[in-house]
């Protein structure tokens, strides 16, 4: 639960400084708190914290509040905030950075579909080089809430009927090249996150 009262001793200014050094997050401390990001965000009305408030929490160093907010999972990366910021802060990149840290630190509800989708997508692409839409959605549903599959039946049938659902497992030939691309290939001996 988010409290309105905050204690200085709970803040971690060092973390805030680290965030501001990540690519795309440099503008963190130049934020005016004007709210252009929240005002232009089409999803802010569904968020527990608006983007402006997330920025305020991050730069004061309230790590846990910022990382466990639903805001980062509601962000659809439409870049409206970034395009409208008078200080040219890359708010979307900041949201990405928070998503990555929240996933690494497991600070999200365990069955929340958005971070599960990201993890499954990542594992699939790391292994095969490409994403196969059908298998991705199936894996996301199985890990988050299998009942979701029932609600997807109608959509699935529409896609089958119009020839838009492919059951093929896409993969590239050059998976060995992916390994050589040190960062992007499967890491041997390590379970895929």
């Amino acid at each position: 639960m988010l409290r309105t009262l905050k204690y200085q001793r709970e803040a971690d200014p060092e973390w805030a400084r680290q965030v501001s050094e990540r690519p795309g997050c440099e503008g963190l401390f130049s934020c005016l708190q004007c709210g252009a990001c929240s005002g232009s965000c089409p999803l802010s009305i569904y968020m527990d914290l608006t983007p402006r408030r997330v920025i305020a929490l991050v730069r004061e160093g309230f790590r846990r509040d910022a990382l466990s907010s639903m805001t980062i999972w509601l962000c659809a990366s439409c870049y409206s905030c970034a395009a409208n910021c008078p200080r040219q802060i890359h708010v979307t990149d900041l949201m990405y950075s928070l998503k990555r840290e929240a996933i690494r630190s497991r600070l999200y509800p365990p069955r929340l579909p958005a971070p599960i989708l990201a993890q499954e997508f990542y594992a699939m692409v790391r292994k095969h080089g490409r994403n196969s839409e059908f298998w991705l959605v199936l894996r996301m549903a199985l890990r988050s809430n299998p009942l979701l599959l029932l609600t997807m039946l109608r959509n699935g049938w529409d896609l089958v009927r119009t020839g838009r659902l492919s059951l093929r497992r896409e993969r590239i030939h050059g998976t060995s090249e992916l390994v050589a691309l040190s960062g992007a290939g499967p890491r041997p001996g390590r379970a895929e996150a």
Binding site: P23, P42, L43, Y46, W73, L74, A76, S77, C78, Y79, S80, A82, A83, H90, T92, Y96, K99, R100, I103, L112, P113, A114, P115, L117, A118, Q119, F121, Y122, V125, R126, G129, R130, N131, S132, E133, F134, V137, M140, T151, R154, N155, D158, L159, T162, G163, R164, L165, S166, R168, E170, I172, H173, E177, L178, A180, L181, S182, G183, A184, A193
Partner: protein
């Protein structure tokens, strides 16, 4: 003429199949050679970027390097998410030395050429700049007999890089469709987010975003929406039955790819445009296009 390198991305091989068909058919009609990048991989889009940014850039860079290896100067990325990630990779490689050296070293380790500026292009901008409105207008062989359309640009194509069109008020699709005689309506929500992957992860909210866009299109007098992105098209096309059920409205309108309308007007084989892949508004599509088919055959 050097062929445009072509990066389909995952959607155009599945839910966005109609986009690939119509795009290739349109470029054939315009005599623009297109060559698919051999063994392309995932662009590293949104979901991948949410886990590991560095390897997302490396992954994306492999596609750019493969395009260079094939001798392409321009790389066509029809999906807005692919377009953005490829473009962002170039931008970040240039702006951040640490990311730049990591990407270039990874490419070298894999025996790929270092990045040296292949141009990432979206078909909308290629048609507008390389072909031009004049040439499109002069090549029209089938008059538009369909309804009024709302041009919907979505988000990632025009933001944060406003190279394809202006970020706040893009108009190039409107101009292209005007050139083939399709009437467009004023559509102020043209760059509002469609909800993206939220229709999968937080379904009720995603569908609400779709509803807002469709409702506004109807209110402005449009009988169809035209898109430039496979995810926008899927979201607006696939959830109309659910929207009718939940809201009691009667919305049932076609959601096209802009390449389908242009391909039709410029005389591509109607069968090659993927029009039958539509989920919603099939009645309108059958009326607008089928009544032409006897006449259309005479042109092809």
């Amino acid at each position: 003429m050097k062929p445009y390198g072509y990066f389909p991305g995952c959607s155009l091989r599945g839910t966005g199949a109609g986009y690939e068909y119509s795009l290739l058919a349109l470029f054939r009609v315009l005599d623009l050679p297109v060559e698919e990048i051999q063994d392309w991989n995932c662009c590293g889009a949104t979901s991948y970027m949410s886990i590991d940014e560095e390897s997302a850039f490396v992954l994306s860079a492999r596609n750019l390097a493969l395009a260079q290896k094939a001798g392409c100067k321009d790389l066509l990325a029809p999906c807005s998410a692919c377009y953005l990630v490829l473009r962002k990779t170039q931008d970040y490689v240039a702006r951040y030395p640490k990311i730049g050296s990591h990407v270039q070293e990874s490419l070298r380790a894999a025996g790929l050429p270092p990045l040296n500026g292949v141009r990432v292009r979206h078909p909308l901008e290629v048609l507008y700049s390389d072909v031009g409105l004049e040439r499109i207008r002069s090549r029209v062989v089938r008059p538009w007999r369909g309804g009024r359309v709302a041009c919907y640009y979505g988000c990632q194509l025009v933001r944060p890089y406003d190279e394809v069109d202006r970020a706040h008020n893009p108009t190039r699709m409107d101009e292209l469709l005007a050139a083939i005689g399709a009437p467009t309506v004023d559509y102020p929500l043209k760059t509002l987010c469609c909800g993206g992957a939220l229709t999968g992860t937080m379904h009720p909210i995603g569908v609400r975003m779709n509803y807002i866009l469709l409702k506004e299109a109807v209110r402005k007098g449009a009988q169809a929406v035209v898109t430039v992105c496979p995810l926008c098209q899927y979201n607006l096309d696939a959830h109309q039955a659910e929207i009718r059920r939940k809201t009691g409205t009667t919305i049932d309108m076609p959601v096209f790819f802009f390449t389908q309308l242009l391909g039709w007007a410029l005389g591509a084989d109607p069968e090659s445009l993927g029009l039958k892949r539509a989920i919603s508004g099939r009645k309108s599509i059958a009326q607008w296009f089928a009544k032409e088919s006897a006449e259309a055959d005479a042109y092809v």
